[in-house]
Amino acid sequence: MAQRVIFHVDANSAFLSWSAAYRVRVLGETEDLRDVPSVVAGDRESRHSIILAKSTPAKKYGIQTGEPLFQAMEKCPTLKVIPPDYGLYVEASRHFVQMLRRFSPVVEQYSIDEAWVDMTGTERLWGTPRTAAEQIRGRIWEELGFTVNVGISSNKLLAKMAGDLEKPNKVHSLFPEEMAEKFWPLPVRDLFLVGAATERKLRLLGIETIGELAQADVSILKKRLGKHGETIWHFANGRNADAVNPEPAENKGYGNSVTTARDVTRREEGQQVLLSLCETVAMRMRRDGKCGSCVSIHLRTNGFEHISHQKILHGATNVTTELYHAACELLDEAWDGYTPLRQLGVQMTRLSQEPYQQFDFFSGMDPRQFERKLRLDETVDALRDRFGEEAIRRGVFAQAPESHMAGGLSKFRRTGVTKPVPME
């Protein structure tokens, strides 16, 4: 079989360059945010303001995506801060993917701002991979007004790594024969699916670069890191057989988190926040007809320390109260009850889609009672679908200033921001 040709196309600091392109090309402003230190960040008044995207000049000040806004302002007091415009980003993303589909029908959108394109067999149409990539880059710039990085390789992983080699507005190739020169000298942290925790473990094994990981003994990696060790070992060797899949992958879990307006210091407050999160998580699961049996919560203290805890339920469920009770148990186990919390999250994994419910002897759950809870939830969902989320709320939220359905995005920007945007 001929060698596959896969492109990874990634919009450079997407939110920022979309906002910048909008201001320059649509509103006709003369200052281009991409040329000055600027960031896209949430509302300064609420505590949600973290850096969502930064310009290349802002990067030179050491500003990082995800850090709090005040910290970034300390690094660069003249920083220009603009609010996010989710409607614009969804539109830009949709056209970005449409543009890619003009080059090849096999496009897999990985997130709002990046996608893989299978360009195998398009040489007689678009020329060599590099020529085709330059055309994609050029047309996106001309027609949509923002820059992208294109990574070219023979599989998805190497294409993604190639796209990250040097930014912005570049085309890079990383075929297996180029690995020793371009890929292996990189620090291991740059590898796809290697985060801070894995990096730490690898460092203990004396592995600093991707090349060292590639040459490591896979049995040791497996022993230390489990299955993930083997996966990243294959990745380090540039092996990845995944096909470019135009259908979006199914959710592996459902979760929501919220940064509260003020720190949570009491158990009741914490439980209330968890309940509002459980409402949204369980509602999304019911909408997709999914049940989950592993509940996890994560907490972030005011000192930015991260705590997480999980438990397996006796049976799979998507009933709000079931999820809530499990989350409360986890909260009591994981939290001392007084350390101030600024962020709480609930997640449900181990999904299943069975039309039946498995009960067990030990949990003491009465099937009829379960049935009633399920029907109640369905009714509440139907009411909210028809009359809006404010139509019905639990009594505990009657006087509460916080939203009774927390997490995720506010209503008007709820679709397609973290997930790929559904095509019309």
């Binding site: 909008y22 090309r25 649509v26 006709g28 614009l88 539109e91 056209h95 027609e143 007004g145």
Partner: protein, 89 residues
Amino acid sequence: MGQTVCPVDVICVCSASGEIRPLRLRMEDGDRRLLRIDIDEVLSVKQVQYVGIEAVLFLCKAAVEDRTWLFELKYTIRTHTWCFMRKVY
């Protein structure tokens, strides 16, 4: 005047085949006087979709106070708004 981008009121023809042609626009000049401009000729029409926002750019010619103006008008499809983009001369 008229160098900056500003929203304007426009009278236009929407033809049976779906084409749009601006006829007249109304905008304020630098002294905040209301200016009515009859468009004599549309020289070019271009579809753009910067950042995914579909719009149509019209390059228009008109006589304004004994001078000929060449300027760009933009119609944003989603919002149904017209903008005076720039005056070429």
